[in-house]
Amino acid sequence: MNQPNSIEASLRVVATFFDKFGAPVEGHAREDLTREQRSQIERLAAGDLSDEERETIVPLLIRNEAAIELLAATVPGDR
């Protein structure tokens, strides 16, 4: 059995489990984003949102998988 050797490694397994089985049940819908939402996400990716603006977009990033997916895709890549 492969035993993750740190809490971070083990949480990565749990995160993958959540992505596959938890998120769809949780209602992480993939809904179309408005132009304004897309713009805010792009500004967040560029590091241009204030603390207050960022706080307002967090619920969207939690409930709409398309939003966090766009954020991940927009951030300048180093992956």
Partner: protein
Amino acid sequence: MDEGQLPDESPAPPRYAEELEIALAALDGEEQAVQAVKAILDDPALRRWLVARGASAAEADELFGDLLTDCFAGRKKSGEMNRLLGRYNGACKLQNFLRRVVLNRFIDRKRRAPDVVSLPTESDEDDGRGGRELAAPSGIDSEDAISQILVDAVRRAFASVDQEKLVLFRLFHSYQISQQRIAAMWGWHYSKVSRALTGLCEELRDGIMAEVRQADPWLQLEWEDFVDLCGDSLDLFDY
């Protein structure tokens, strides 16, 4: 590719093809393979593992005895052959498969016991039908009680933590965005992101285990078990 030739769409071989071969050979009655399966089920360490999860020694003996029988001689109510070993598909280690089956049976037995009261899960509350297995997430075996325990615990723990930190967590773990990039997006110092993620990981681990213990107090799962079972679920239900 030649015109008219179909692309090769043969499925990838199972991850544990050798163990699948042993299982199939055992089902065919090949003595060496049968002994290999029996050796797994007779391993005292596996019984100790189940006892450490909350079973009595007598329960462990009985459950593993039944498991051995069902591996080779299970039947459906209709009388049709339904050998447990025939359900193994090589997606995870055979020992892990058998361990998961016996854990599911132990959970099922404890929940049926009149002196055991399990708290309702979210899914019970959602559908109002009072059955954990009824609301299994798509892709998960609805008879796999342990999967429902894992999903419920993870969902509740994820919902209870700071949601902004959870976004950082998902960017890092689910989307492989580096902590440096997250720090740049959030306008935070790298060390602040690192601390937030480390703190959240500990919070999630503690929250998940608290959820497991609250739902089924008699089930003595450890964090390492939980992670292993999540990993096995990803292998077993990766279709």
